[in-house]
């Protein structure tokens, strides 16, 4: 160190010593007043609850400043100490505010996490619900498809059955038509069987050899169970009318009996003899007479449906199979 510095230090040392003898100023320095205000303000704020230790440090700093002021500390010392005290008071407030902000930030952070979790759960639930709905819809579609397939199958089966029935009817009809005369008339379907095939001369017992034919007739009649049947016996003119009447009746009964024992419901079938009263051919020729000697099995048409009665007009009289 050079001489100039040394000298300067010496002067400074003396002046410091001299200034130490000066009495303290009578009115408080501005900085001390400011420090007191700063402390009051801090103590009234959030520092009292959120930064009590720091507030206490500020109070101690202020106390040191006050002590200096009350004692023989010079203005600069009081000012310096007061300055520090004021800073410490502000510090307490700032630290308090930071803690409050920290708590708030933590609270908000937790809120955000809860919200995020809640939304995640909601999304998961929605996903499950959507999945369930999709599965349900898929099941229903499947059920509907299965039902449709089932219905189609049933429809196919019904159609097949109808076809089979039709086939059966056709078969029965064709089989019958191979040897029997079948005609559609207003009376209904008329199957004409020659008496020569069914009976021996002047007899009313069904020949064994005719059973096959009558079975065909029975099968045919069974295809339309709702239609009534009338067995009619007819003869030629040979033998006398009353003889022919009873023979024709007996023969009609015999055929009816056979048919009933072979599956035709007795309630739908009747037998009547017409004797020689309804010839279909001339009785003057051999062939004509042969044609007249017959049994006609009439399958009556279904009765026309009766419409429901209307109040204004009387119900129409139903047509009963002409």
């Amino acid at each position: 160190m050079n001489t100039t510095t040394l000298r300067r230090l010496q002067i400074l040392a003396l002046s410091l010593g001299a200034s130490a003898l000066l009495a303290c100023a009578t009115s408080p320095p501005d900085q001390l007043v400011a420090a007191r205000d700063a402390y009051r303000s801090a103590a009234a704020g959030p520092a009292s609850t959120s930064a009590p230790d720091e507030l206490q440090e500020a109070q101690k700093a202020l106390a040191r400043a006050e002590q200096s002021y009350a004692g023989d500390g010079d203005d600069t010392e009081v000012t310096d100490l007061a300055y520090v005290a004021a800073r410490r008071a502000e510090l307490a407030t700032v630290i308090a505010n930071r803690r409050v902000a920290e708590r708030r930030a933590e609270d908000l952070h937790e809120q955000r996490q809860r919200l995020s979790e809640q939304l995640r759960q909601e999304a998961a639930k929605e996903l499950v619900a959507t999945k369930d709905a999709l599965e349900e819809a898929s099941r229903r579609t499947q059920d509907a498809t299965e039902a449709k397939i089932q219905a189609e199958r049933e429809a196919d089966a019904a159609r097949a059955e109808a076809r089979a029935t039709k086939e059966q009817m056709k078969e029965a009809r064709e089989k019958l038509a191979r040897w029997a005369e079948m005609v559609e008339t207003r009376r209904g379907t008329v199957i004409t069987l020659s008496s020569g095939i069914l009976f021996a001369t002047a007899k009313a017992d069904v020949l064994a050899g005719a059973s096959g034919r009558l079975d065909d007739v029975a099968r045919y009649l069974q295809q339309s169970p709702e239609r009534r049947v009338r067995v009619e016996g007819h003869t030629d003119t040979a033998g006398g009318s009353s003889y022919n009447q009873s023979l024709s009746q007996a023969r009609a009964d015999a055929v009816r009996s056979y048919l009933v024992t072979h599956g035709v419901s007795p309630t739908r079938i009747t037998a009547v003899g017409f004797g020689e009263t309804r010839p279909v051919a001339t009785n003057d020729t051999v062939e004509g007479r042969a044609n007249n000697r017959r049994v006609e099995i009439v399958l009556e048409p279904l009765p026309a449906p009766v419409p429901p009665p209307v109040s204004d007009s009387p119900p129409p009289i139903p047509d009963e199979g002409e």
Binding site: M1, D80, R87, L91, A101, E102, L108, L115, L119
Partner: protein
């Protein structure tokens, strides 16, 4: 600006020459000088210069530290010590102001995050 080490050597020399006044503060330790400097550095690191209020106190801290250094050179250790205290106090305040700013920013971000979550959710629902 002299390093704390240089100052300590200077002070030690001055002490040896008996030029330090016998009063409130006698010798200043290396720690007493290093402390405010460390607080100033901490405040700078915390971003005090980015916040106006914090920057103000950071500047005050630096100025007062300079003043203290000059006072030490002049041998006014007592006054220098008080200026070191002042510098420390301002540096600490600057630091805490920087922290407060950052924490408030975190709170704002958290709030914004909540708003965004809600907005995104409502948007999805619609």
């Amino acid at each position: 600006m002299r390093s704390p080490r240089t100052l300590t050597i200077m002070l030690g020399a001055m002490g040896a020459l008996g030029l330090l006044t016998a009063g409130c503060a006698t010798t200043l330790s290396a720690d007493e000088i290093a402390e405010p400097k460390a607080r100033i550095a901490a405040a700078e690191e915390a971003g005090a210069s980015e916040n106006p209020e914090a920057a103000l106190h950071l500047n005050l801290a630096n100025d007062q530290f300079e003043r203290a250094s000059k006072l030490i050179e002049l041998g006014e250790n007592a006054r220098a010590a008080r200026f070191l205290d002042r510098a420390s106090a301002d540096a600490e305040l600057a630091l805490e102001l920087a922290h407060l700013d950052r924490t408030r920013g975190e709170a704002r971000d958290a709030m914004r995050g909540i708003h965004e979550l809600r907005r995104a959710h409502d948007f999805e629902i619609r």
